[in-house]
């Protein structure tokens, strides 16, 4: 029992032996147990509905973050039963705990070192064998576990019924059937968790059976050694297996006593494999040395045999517990959908159609809300702020700086960015939850492989169409560091939401303006789509180039599980996605856009030698700009608006007014603005010396220029490498310069 009110530093070491969960290690893993009595870990394969179970249990009382020191997401939440409060920690979805990927280490280390009071293993009833493989491994480590048999409705649909009582007998732990989506069985799950946590139910978990394998003797003899060296350790056999598999983390943990509490309270860093200088237990060292020499004799085959043994066991348990319907499965909806969605002739059209629908919904749906937000935040609120400034006797420059610079940029970014993101990402997440995106990855892998990249890049690229920073974060799904870097560097070529307004406006003016009015809408839409497709072409081309030069290497392995189609939780996804995206946009606006607004206002209002800083810079940049087929205004706008692509057009308009000396347009120096109709903008830009070439090159440059500062920051956080962050930022920019230059020279030749 544990009734800790404070972290373990306040407990005497002797208390540790009686405590179920290891509060000290929990704190190190970033889990604060101050207001909770018990900690429950949630483990399971990917695609088992684990997050649905998590949401069903915790409702809205949850928050997400990262595991300390790693770029792996973590969710934790809480629930209460009667007087008792439980904390629920969602572990990364893993196929096994034996291998050494980051996800598996995190999951394994949490169960092993933090010793949660209960570990719940979420198991997909329709996929019992593979899921039981993980369950059996968990049962080797801990003996306080509950199996949550989820998705039994799906299994029923496919003609299988699972005898959960039989399963519970075979496994030695409680098994609770659930349908998390409809909350069926969740209450019983919670009660079972409580019973196991408080010791009401005692589990006798099944440990890996003994078979006629030649390594069996080795395991047994080493397990004996472990037991002799550490009296009372409950999972000696598992420890012996890990030592024979060469698990360095377990070796270290044995030597410092972390695993066995021989020397409690020693500060070995949990989760990142480093060891502080600690006292080493000589008995442990002897066991480890013996294990190492035994390993040499066993050779490579040990791991294989272990995995095979686990699977044989899992298969026989699953067989005994599964009852197949006599008539066989119902009409297989999954296959029917797949025939349509991934069929030879229908696959690509469906993909393109779906993506088009998503984009169209985003653009069309965002129009009105963007306008309303702009009205609210800018048209209504900004004058109020100015009035406030006048009332508070702010000097003119302070009012201008705060309200025309900082506030305006922030408000602009929010009103332009929020509606499209709030539509695009929920749609995207719905597609992902339904299982469609895995099939996209499956179908496009061939193309990506030929470009030297990974099929999952299809997903990160599509996410990049919403927001490049989100696309960069999404590259976590790619295991190989080389291919992940390629995905990160080329993500910029996906035309993100923030650049669409620029493309649409310029396309309408300069390309639509070339054709008769009745074709204009169609042609300008076509132009924007062509630019987006060009971005995809560049993604492949640059991926190919990178994989032939600086990121050389063979294609990594590609193993993808294609989940069955599942109805997504529509409202819940909409809600959580909306909240996530709103918070993100607000954060980004404040952190990145506000300073940009300040810089813009200052550049327009600080005067040196008669003209403003902006005018100086524009005339300085003009020659280079014209060489590229752009002009100084555009270049300056891109420099000051690195933080946010959304404010490019307003900034350009403002600078154009300033430098072209157009009177009567715009609210004044250093203040961004927008015009109501495209033709107004057209007139202004033409007065500023723009030609069709300028328009075309602006569209190209907008596609190809460096990533926005949020993306650069995210790239740095994900890669932790200054070198690659610089490459990712500078490469697209150079490409933009080169392409614009070539286009402008070729254009001028004719």
């Amino acid at each position: 029992m544990s009734d800790h009110e404070q972290p373990s530093s306040a407990c005497p070491p002797a208390a540790c032996a009686g405590c179920q969960h290891h509060a000290g290690n929990l704190v190190k893993l970033g889990v604060n147990m101050e207001r909770f009595d018990y900690v429950v870990a949630l483990a399971g394969n990917p695609n088992t509905g684990k997050s649905t179970v998590f949401n069903a249990i915790t409702g809205l009382r949850q928050h997400t973050g990262n595991w300390p020191g790693k770029t792996v997401a973590r969710a934790e939440g809480g629930f209460a039963l009667g007087e008792r409060r439980f904390k629920l920690v969602d572990l990364p979805g893993t196929y096994s705990l034996l291998s050494t990927t980051v996800d598996e280490e995190i999951a394994r280390n949490f169960i092993l070192f933090a010793r949660p009071d209960v570990t719940v293993v979420v198991v997909d009833a329709g996929n019992l064998e593979r899921n039981l493989n993980l369950a059996l491994q968990v049962l080797e480590i801990t003996d306080r576990a509950v199996v949550c048999l989820n998705l039994i409705d799906e299994a029923r649909r496919h003609g299988r019924t699972i005898d959960h009582r039989r399963l519970a007998r075979d496994l030695g732990v409680p098994v609770v059937p659930t349908v998390a989506r409809t909350r069926e069985g969740i209450d019983e799950l919670l009660t079972t968790i409580e019973q196991v946590a408080t010791g009401e139910t005692v589990c006798k978990p099944r440990r890996l059976g003994k078979g006629a394998r030649k390594v069996e003797q080795t395991i047994e003899s080493l397990a004996l050694d472990v037991e002799q060296a550490f009296a009372g350790v409950s999972n000696a056999r598992w420890i012996a297996i890990r030592l024979l598999d060469g698990d360095a983390r377990i070796e270290a943990a044995l030597e410092t006593g972390e695993l066995t509490d021989v020397a409690p309270g020693i500060a070995a860093a949990v989760g990142d494999g480093t060891l502080a200088a600690v006292a080493v237990n000589p008995a442990a060292r002897a066991v480890v040395e013996r294990a190492r020499s035994l390993r040499w004799d066993l050779g490579h085959g040990f791991h294989d045999e272990l995995t095979e043994a686990l699977y044989t066991e899992a298969a026989s348990i699953a067989d005994r517990a599964t009852i197949l319907d006599a008539e066989g499965p119902d009409f297989d909806l999954d296959r029917a959908i797949d025939r349509l969605v991934t069929g030879k002739w229908t696959g690509f059209p469906v993909m393109i159609a779906l993506l088009t629908v998503v984009f169209w919904l985003t653009i069309a749906g965002a129009n009105v809300p963007s306008g309303l937000l702009a009205q609210l935040l800018i048209d209504k609120t900004q004058p109020l702020l100015h009035q406030f400034g006048a009332w508070a006797h702010f000097p003119g420059w302070l009012s201008g700086f705060l309200f025309d610079g900082v506030y305006l940029a922030t408000a602009w970014v929010i009103s332009v960015m929020l509606p499209p993101m709030a539509i695009f990402f929920p749609l995207f997440t719905l597609l992902e939850d339904a299982g469609y995106l895995a099939r996209v990855s499956f179908n496009l892998d061939g193309l990506f492989k030929r470009a030297g990249a990974h099929g999952k890049q299809a997903l990160t690229m599509s996410m990049g169409f919403g927001c490049n920073a989100a696309g960069v974060v999404a590259t976590r799904i790619i295991d190989s560091p080389r291919e992940r870097l390629i995905a990160i560097i080329t993500n910029n070529f996906a035309l993100c939401n923030g650049r669409w307004p620029t493309q649409i406006l310029i396309g309408t003016i300069f390309i639509g303006g070339l054709v008769p009015a009745h074709l204009a809408g169609f042609v300008s839409a076509g132009a924007v789509v062509s630019v987006a497709l060009l971005g995809v072409v560049f993604t492949f081309a640059v991926s190919w180039l990178l994989s032939r030069t600086v990121l050389k290497g063979e294609p990594s392995s590609f193993s993808l599980e294609i989940p069955p189609y599942r109805p997504p939780r529509f409202w819940r996804t909409l809600y959580t996605s909306l909240i996530d995206r709103t918070l993100y946009v607000l954060w980004r606006a404040i952190v990145f856009a506000a300073p940009a607004g300040a810089v813009i206002w200052l550049s327009g209002n600080i005067h040196i030698g008669g003209s403003s800083v902006a005018e100086h810079m524009v005339s300085g940049l003009d020659p280079f700009g014209l060489l590229l087929g752009l002009n100084g205004v555009i270049l300056l706008a891109y420099i000051v608006a690195i933080p946010a692509n959304e404010i490019i057009i307003p900034t350009i308009l403002m600078f154009t007014v300033m430098t072209a000396g157009v009177a009567g347009v715009g609210p004044g120096a250093g203040v961004m603005f927008e015009l109501d109709s495209a033709s107004d903008v057209s007139r202004l830009l033409t007065a500023g010396g723009w030609t069709t070439l300028t328009g075309i090159n602006l569209m190209l440059f907008s596609l190809l220029h460096n990533p926005c500062s949020t993306t650069i920051y995210t790239i740095w956080k994900e890669t932790r490498s200054a070198r690659w962050t610089v490459v990712a930022s500078v490469l697209p920019l150079l490409l933009g310069f080169v392409v614009c230059f070539v286009v402008s020279q070729v254009w001028r030749l004719f």
Binding site: N47, Y95, S96, L98, S99, T100, G126, N127, L128, E129, R130, N133, G246, D247, A248, R295, W296, H300, H303, D304, T307, E308, Y311, A315, T342, K344, F348, F442, N443, L444, D445, G446, R450, G455, S480, R482, T549, V550, K552, G553, E554, P555, S556, S557, F558, S559, L560, E561, I562, P563, P564, L626, L627, F741, V742, S744, Q745, V746, R748, L749
Partner: protein, 349 residues
């Protein structure tokens, strides 16, 4: 504004120049960097390695053989040897080069770094086998003692490198196994490949191209003066005795080998509607990739059915233990299935 044509020409010339200088791997900059590396320490270490390898094979090492290995002039070679002598790492005895104890220790560290790096490349990256040796040749000089130790720990203290050479331990001991070359087999004998000699590189490249890898099980069918004929992985391999000298094997007892050589087709051979039972995962599938495949349920004895092919080619989806897993063709080819067990949907398994 100068004429656009001139601009374009200038730009193209400038681009070409930049490419010549900066191209990764082949440009002037990277060549000069490599040249600078060939200075002092690297040459010393290469010399130490050369002498060590000769001693391990019980061959004599002379100045001329060292000069050939370092690919440098006689004068330079003498300079290197003099430095080794001054540092107490080597001695010249009767015209032969011999390592001192200190020198042997140093050489072992370099060899350890080299082989650990090859193991890392093989297990955790997708680098082509033919590039392992060359890359390790460069990296062995860059790894510090601490880095080598950390790498060894991370890889699980491997005993052998991917060519089958033993990796010296941290305290400088080298496990020694008796070496039996392929050319010593008699027709009809079965064996497993335990070592592939990585120098000379041409020979190793040929072996890799023929499909040899560590752990490959083969049977010697026939031998004549200029060729040996083996069977492995369901196909026949013909190789010259020179190549066979560079392949070390370990004889297999008759019973065990039968099961392994009977595999004749792979998962990639399955057609629509077919299913089969997995017999083994080829040893050419290593490290992380192997573990991931096994974690997904692809272990010997599993029944796998073909589901569908990816639309842009190159990979297929298979039904495994109730889930659908997609694998690329190269991976599917490494999973051996029993041909007689291939069953069309609807037939009895």
């Amino acid at each position: 504004m100068p004429a656009p044509l001139i601009n374009l020409i200038v730009f193209l010339l400038g681009g070409a120049l930049a490419g010549i200088v900066f191209w990764p791997g082949r440009g002037l900059l990277s060549r000069s960097r490599r040249g600078r590396m060939l200075a002092s320490r690297v040459q010393l270490e290469d010399a130490l390695k050369h002498i060590y390898h000769h001693e391990a094979r019980e061959q004599t090492c002379t100045l001329s053989s060292l000069g050939g290995a370092l690919e440098t002039t006689a004068a330079r070679t003498i300079a290197v040897v003099t430095k080794l002598q001054h540092a107490g790492l080597a001695r010249v005895v009767d015209g032969r080069l011999v390592l001192t104890e200190e020198g042997t220790r140093y050489a072992l560290e370099v060899v350890r770094a080299h082989r650990l790096w090859e193991r890392y490349l093989a297990d955790e990256t997708g680098v082509d086998p033919q590039e392992w040796h060359a890359r390790a040749e460069r990296q062995e000089h860059a790894l510090t003692r601490a880095e080598a130790d950390a790498l060894s720990e991370r890889l699980g203290h491997p005993r052998f490198d991917p060519h089958g050479d033993p990796i010296p331990t941290a305290d400088g001991s080298v496990p020694v196994d008796p070496v039996v070359p392929l050319s010593a087999l008699e027709p009809g004998e079965r064996a497993v490949v335990t070592h592939l000699e990585d120098e000379p590189e041409i020979v190793y490249a040929q072996l890799v191209a023929l499909g040899f890898y560590l752990g490959m099980v083969l049977r010697l069918d026939a031998r004549a003066d200029q060729r040996l004929v083996c069977e492995a992985d369901g196909r026949k391999i013909v190789l010259a005795p020179l190549l066979a000298e560079n392949v070390s094997i370990q004889r297999l007892p008759a019973g065990e080998a039968d099961v392994m050589v009977s595999v004749e087709s792979s998962l990639a051979d399955l057609d629509a509607g077919e299913s089969a039972e997995i017999v083994r995962i080829s040893a050419a599938c290593r490290g992380l990739e192997r573990r991931r495949l096994m974690d997904l349920g692809l272990v010997p004895g599993t029944r796998v059915a073909f589901d569908q092919r990816g639309l842009s080619g190159g990979l297929s989806a298979y039904r495994v233990r109730g889930s659908i897993i997609a694998l690329r063709d190269e991976q599917a080819r490494l999973i051996g299935v029993a041909r007689s067990q291939r069953v069309k949907a609807g037939e009895q398994a």
